[in-house]
């Protein structure tokens, strides 16, 4: 008899508390989402502006307008950029720049992976005199930023007559202490017994590399490929120094050369080129991501 009303008040209190908690949760949800949306807008807005800018004519941006909606000149702008290029880059077509950038990024990536795989293999699986000296000299170059050695490197490359060649553009960027270190760390996790089992099975060093080490490294190679391709594609300082002619100009340099004084810049073409410059790295990330997630699932021990 007595606890009837008490129960009722208790129930009401519990209900109120639950509702309060619910409201609090909803408030946190709103706040977190607001922050997230703000973040997305902050990061995406410049890209949106570039994307929209590339669909208007020269005049719109030159007048100081910031277009937020698509304009009618998309096809025309992209065709001009790809096929003819901007007047300021002595009309080097962006298609050529993209090919150049792609060749450079791909060869830097493949070269870096090949060199660091083999040097890490040598350092980990063979004992030879000077092994630690070799490892430490690779390791120490990791501490030096590229800019420190850029002038001696330029001198060497120009003395070899490699200015304005793919070789001059690519070879100096191939050595990679970071990738070597990464592969070394991974190779150290391969159990000794596996090496010994292969020895007893009769696999020589090259065979072991090809049949065991390489397949086990697929995941690492895929991850590095993504990182290094983007690194290669975005190279700015070195291509700026060694390319002076349009034949080997990369897209990043192309964009820089297109932008002159405010007045005579073809902003619509700059925007279109910027969008085009974005595409290959994005494509590589998306393609390789799928591949290395698959790799992660399959080779997990």
């Amino acid at each position: 008899m007595m606890h009837g009303p008490i129960d009722a008040t208790r129930l009401a209190a519990a209900e109120r508390a639950a509702m309060k908690a619910e409201a609090a949760r909803r408030r946190t949800d709103i706040v977190t989402h607001a922050i997230l949306i703000l973040g997305v807008v902050l990061f995406a807005l410049p890209i949106w502006i570039v994307l929209m800018g590339s669909t208007h004519d020269v005049g719109t941006i030159a007048r100081g307008e910031v277009p937020l909606l698509p304009g009618p000149y998309a096809v025309q702008n992209y065709l001009t950029a790809l096929g003819e290029g901007s007047a300021r880059t002595t009309r080097v077509p962006v298609a050529l720049m993209m090919v150049n950038s792609f060749i450079m990024a791909l060869l830097i990536t493949v070269g870096k992976i090949a060199i660091s795989l083999t040097s890490a293999y040598a350092v980990v699986f063979f004992s030879f005199p000077g092994r630690m000296v070799a490892f430490w000299s690779i390791f120490i170059t990791l501490m030096l930023p590229v800019e420190v050695r850029i002038f001696p490197t330029f001198k060497v490359v120009s003395d070899l007559g490699m200015i304005n060649t793919y070789g001059g553009l690519i070879i100096p960027l191939i050595a990679s202490a970071t990738a070597t270190l990464l592969f070394r760390q991974f190779f150290l996790t391969i159990p000794d017994e596996l090496v010994e089992a292969a020895k007893i099975d009769g696999a020589g060093p090259l065979r072991f590399f090809k049949d065991v080490v390489l397949p086990l490294s697929v995941t690492n190679i895929a991850a590095l490929f993504v990182i290094l391709f983007v690194y290669g594609w975005n190279q700015y300082l070195w291509p700026l120094l060694v390319t002076t002619s349009g034949d080997v100009e990369t897209i990043v340099i192309g964009i820089v050369r297109m932008i002159g004084s405010e007045a005579d810049t073809d902003w619509n073409l700059v925007m279109a080129t910027a969008v085009l410059a974005l595409l290959p790295p994005v494509a590589v990330v998306i393609l390789m991501q799928r591949w290395f997630v698959k790799g992660l699932v399959e080779t997990e021990k």
Binding site: E193, A197, K199, G202, T299
Partner: protein, 371 residues
């Protein structure tokens, strides 16, 4: 199938001497188990036979050919590793076929041999799987299959059962023994587990600190251990050791703990009062009072079901472990025990076994003196 001979194998890593001259002759089709505590050099010895390590001194001879300087692949051996060492990215079939592929065998023959071996091991339906999709026991079988399919002169096993759970270990132990009998391949098996050693080996090599303490059949080692190390290592729970001295012209031992026990097998050589170590296995000690019995102050009783392990101390302060089936005294009580003379092992102060001088030999010697 082949013989194996080791001659004076020594191994040093810098100034650390791991093996001090091992000699061993293995007959065709024989299963030799190398047993010892960790760090005794047993794995190093196996790796020297495999060619994964080079001996500092000595020779390895397989089937009459000196292979000391040869690479592992040229020795025609197969090895099963403790962690199986399967190639994680290859299917079971490829794991087993890899060695054959490298040797350049025709594809059809490889397929036939792998299939045959897999069926022999009961893994015929697993050939498409990857190692990570297999259980521990199945991986173990694949590792064995990879060794068998090669049809080598010599099998080397490096603690292959230690990663399995207890039940599977017993099962695989029996299976390995059956397989080895059936295939008749000369084998070296390294283990730290004395039960594994006893059950698997035709002969055992008991190793201690880089030396082969004794090489003999399991029962010989159990019945007549060459020294206190072997005696303590083989048999569980371990043999008890009691300090004593030689009395009555070598016919009896006077225990520090009190009693004097006449030897059952005759006179042991040595001077009167020479220090001895007397060993007796826990299962041979009997309860019983009367002359020659020792009062054992019980401090712990471990019931094992059919039997109990009784740990206690003698008046001399020496500890004694007793295994009895019909007796479980309370901790703190005093249990009178008798050491049957026929079950005693007698060692000198350095721990080397002393055999009784047999009566016939004595009379022969006496006759020689008489003549």
């Amino acid at each position: 199938m082949a013989t194996l001979e080791l001659q004076g194998i020594r191994k040093s890593f810098g100034t650390t001497h791991v093996l001090h001259g091992i000699d061993l002759a293995v007959a065709e089709g024989e299963m030799i188990v190398i047993v010892g505590a960790s760090g005794c050099g047993k794995s190093t010895l196996l790796r020297i036979v495999a060619g994964l390590e080079t001996a500092t001194e000595g020779r390895v001879i397989i089937a009459g050919a000196d292979v000391t300087r040869l690479e592992p692949k040229d020795r025609d051996i197969a090895m099963v590793f403790q962690n199986y060492a399967l190639y994680p990215h290859m299917s079971v079939f490829d794991n087993m076929a890899y060695g054959l592929k490298i040797r350049g065998l025709p594809k059809a023959e490889i397929r036939a041999r792998v299939q045959q071996t897999a069926d022999l091991l009961g893994i015929g339906q697993l050939l498409e799987r990857k190692p990570r999709q297999l259980s521990g026991g199945q991986r173990q079988r694949v590792a064995m299959g990879r060794a068998i399919v090669r049809e080598p002169k010599l099998f080397l096993f490096d603690e292959p059962l230690s990663n399995l759970d207890a039940k599977l270990r017993v099962q695989m132990r029996a299976e390995i023994k059956r397989l080895q009998r059936r295939l008749g391949v000369t084998s070296l098996f390294v283990t730290h587990d004395q039960v594994e050693a006893m059950t698997l080996g035709d002969r055992l090599v008991v190793m201690h600190e880089g030396r082969a303490e004794q090489v003999a059949t399991p029962m010989e080692i159990w019945r007549a251990p060459a020294n206190t190390y072997v005696a303590g290592f083989i048999g569980a729970p371990a043999m008890n050791f009691l300090a004593a001295e030689l009395v009555e012209g070598g016919a009896a031992a006077k225990l520090k703990a009190g009693a004097t026990i006449a030897f059952a097998d005759g006179v042991h050589p040595g001077g009167e009062g020479a220090p001895l170590i007397v060993g007796i296995r826990p299962e041979h000690i009997q309860a019983g009072s009367g002359p020659g019995s020792l009062p054992l102050k019980v401090d712990l009783v471990e019931p094992l079901g059919a039997e109990s392990l009784i740990h206690g101390a003698l008046p001399s302060g020496e500890t004694l472990t007793v295994r009895m089936s019909d007796c479980s005294p309370l901790a703190g009580s005093v249990l009178p025990v008798v050491l049957p003379p026929a079950s005693l092992h007698v060692f000198d102060a350095e721990g080397r076994r002393i055999e009784a001088v047999r009566r016939r030999e004595r009379t022969a010697a006496a006759g020689a003196v008489g003549a």
